[in-house]
């Protein structure tokens, strides 16, 4: 159905041009010049771009820019929320480079990102692919796999998650039956992050949906052609699926990195940052400073350092993406 599209457009476009030609002949020169000046202006790429981008630009100036500037200003002050901010210069920034709690929180966050993000993405892509095979039951299966992503950071999840990984829970029992004594996830600083990472991967639904939508965009023609050529499933995956899906992979990667660096809810409701600050992720550290300890200025300073770090990582990914992301439109 869509294959005919260009033809239809061409036909429509043809009638459009002929009609304008006729119109032009009938009108006097002044008006047409005026109109074409307007039309040139309105069809100018800059005009078009700003018209379409206007919602974001307006919203940015109205709701986002000022809070960002204010948070930067707060980062240069002592601000305990209940009283007006007091100028402090670079004090907060100097304090944070010496703060072992901050350094620890950055370290555990990076660990979380390095392990958690690929895990979630691979899982989401795998399930999205797997589910493209079951023709009839696909909808049902996808629903089942998507449901966990609908219960978010609710109290119920926190309870059952704690139970699953608790010292009385099935997973620890299994590990103990393999001969490891006194094993605990939440009591051991080396393993406490695992339930959180797994929990994060478990809620992979939105990444999966985005992958699924991307997979749907891949023309079946490619696969048919590859099948005729006798390409194996693995080869088809690497030579067709991955390249065409690469813009979506890039998107999911960048977004999961950002949300990984800002991971908060699960640590907040399940581990509260413990034990021994092993899950005291930087967002939780920021929250505690801002709202528990009322050191908003310090919290803002950490946030801006975090922003710089994520921006740097994102920049590196964007720069290298030229080598592995394939845009159909830029063929």
């Amino acid at each position: 159905m869509i294959c005919h599209c260009p033809d239809q457009i061409r036909a429509a476009a043809d009638t459009y041009t002929t009609r304008t030609k006729e119109n032009k002949d009938m009108q006097n020169e002044d008006r047409s010049e005026q109109r074409s000046r307007f039309s040139r202006f309105i069809n100018n790429d800059n005009t078009v771009g700003y018209i379409f981008a206007a919602p974001f630009i307006i919203g940015f100036f109205a709701f986002t820019l000022v809070p960002m500037i204010m948070s930067f200003y707060y980062s240069l002050t002592d601000y305990k929320i209940t009283a007006a901010p007091v100028w402090a210069g670079l004090k907060n920034y100097i304090a944070l480079v010496q703060d072992s709690h901050f350094l620890n929180s950055m370290l555990v966050t990076v660990q979380y990102v390095i392990i958690g993000v690929p895990l979630k993405l691979v899982f989401a892509l795998l399930i999205a692919m797997l589910l493209t095979h079951a023709k009839k039951l696909q909808g049902f299966y996808r629903a089942v796999y998507y449901i966990p992503s609908l219960i978010g950071g609710s109290v119920a999840v926190a309870l059952v998650w704690k139970q699953l990984f608790s010292s009385e829970g099935p997973i620890v029992k299994l590990i103990q039956s393999m001969g490891v004594e006194r094993f605990s996830f939440f009591g051991n600083a080396h393993f406490a992050f695992l339930p959180l990472v797994i929990g994060n991967a478990w809620q992979f639904g939105s990444s999966m949906l985005i992958f699924a939508a991307g997979l749907k965009q891949i023309s079946t023609d490619y696969y048919e052609a590859a099948m005729i050529d006798g390409a194996s499933a693995v080869k088809r995956f690497f030579s067709i699926t991955l390249p065409i899906l690469s813009p979506i992979i890039l998107f999911n990667l960048v977004m999961q990195l950002i949300s990984g660096f800002m991971t908060f809810t699960s640590a907040f409701v399940i581990t509260k940052g413990g034990p021994n600050e092993a899950t005291n992720y930087v967002s939780l550290f920021i929250y505690n400073n801002a709202f528990q300890y009322h050191r908003m200025g310090y919290a803002c300073a950490i946030s801006w350092v975090l922003l710089l770090i994520i921006a740097l990582v994102t920049l590196i990914i964007f720069k290298t993406s030229n080598n592995w992301v394939f845009y159909e439109s830029e063929q």
């Binding site: 041009t17 069809n43 078009v48 749907k216």
Partner: protein, 280 residues
């Protein structure tokens, strides 16, 4: 050959169903928790099914707080989620088109700014943003939760950009040669092809808005305007006693609208069911 096919089918389905059960177990636990009391929920976490089905948790939870029932909270949530989702879709497709396809001056700059706005943690933006909305006199209304979405949600703008970039450029080029303006290219060519992206946006954003409780917490300050996501939090309190059964019951009911939205749109994301797959 046929039996081999059958065996691999069985393995495939058994694997999907087995993994699916593991995935969904915590959800089932919550759903069945709706029929339990505190002792069963807290002291017998290993049990999935309730021993006695306590249906009374539902009316008890539904009654809400101080005379405001969950019918009010559900109504509020649905209104907010629908408007916010509509806003996200409209602005998301428009802005994404500009950033992905129109070579205007400053395009790269605006893209960078958009990414940058996602990098500051919400915890430090919250208070300044609240102060602005308060200046505008919008605290206590649903405007901060809905209208702002018409100005674009960076996550979805970027997502849609990637989908647009995946569309063959020959489509626009052909139309351009034929004299189509960028406006008609957007409405006649790009938009119709963005089906999967728009549907993904609807499903995900509806849920995100539905689930968000920080926004409602800050901006809605009369119990009659609270949303479901926030009302559920009101059951639990560390300084007093929490009744978990009704809380789980309402959490379970809260899944219904988001799951319905998913079911409605999911079929459009399936291969082979719709005839709408893009062919280059």
């Amino acid at each position: 050959m046929k039996t081999k096919r059958l065996i691999s089918d069985i393995i495939y389905h058994a694997f999907i169903i087995g993994l699916g059960f593991l995935m969904i177990y915590p959800v089932l636990w919550m759903v069945f928790g709706s029929f339990k009391n505190n002792v069963e929920i807290l002291q017998h976490t290993e049990r999935l099914l309730p021993t006695v089905w306590r249906w009374e948790n539902f009316p008890k939870g539904w009654a809400g707080f101080g005379g405001t029932s969950f019918s009010v909270f559900f109504k509020n949530s649905i209104i907010i989620s629908l408007i916010a989702t509509a806003g996200t879709v409209v602005s998301g497709t428009l802005v994404a088109y500009a950033l992905a396809r129109v070579p205007f001056k400053g395009r790269q700059l605006w893209f960078n700014i958009m990414i940058l706005t996602m990098l500051l943690p919400g915890q430090v933006i919250m208070i300044p943003q609240y102060l602005i909305f308060r200046k505008m006199g919008l605290v206590g209304t649903i405007v901060p939760l809905t209208l702002t979405k018409f100005f674009g949600v960076p996550f979805f703008i970027y997502m849609t950009m990637q989908f647009i970039k995946g569309l063959p450029r020959e489509l626009d080029e052909a139309a351009m040669i034929d004299g189509c303006s960028r406006y008609s290219i957007f409405s006649r060519i790009i938009l119709p092809l963005l089906g999967p992206s728009v549907i993904t946006m609807i499903v995900i954003q509806f849920y995100w808005v539905w689930d968000d409780f920080m926004g409602p917490l800050l901006y809605l300050n009369r119990p009659k305007t609270y949303t479901v996501s926030y009302a559920i939090k009101l059951f639990a309190d560390a300084t007093s006693t929490t009744d978990y059964g009704p809380m789980f019951a309402m959490s379970t009911l809260s899944l219904v609208p988001v799951f319905t939205i998913f079911l409605i749109f999911n079929r459009y994301l399936m291969d082979g069911v719709t005839a709408g797959s893009v062919k280059g």
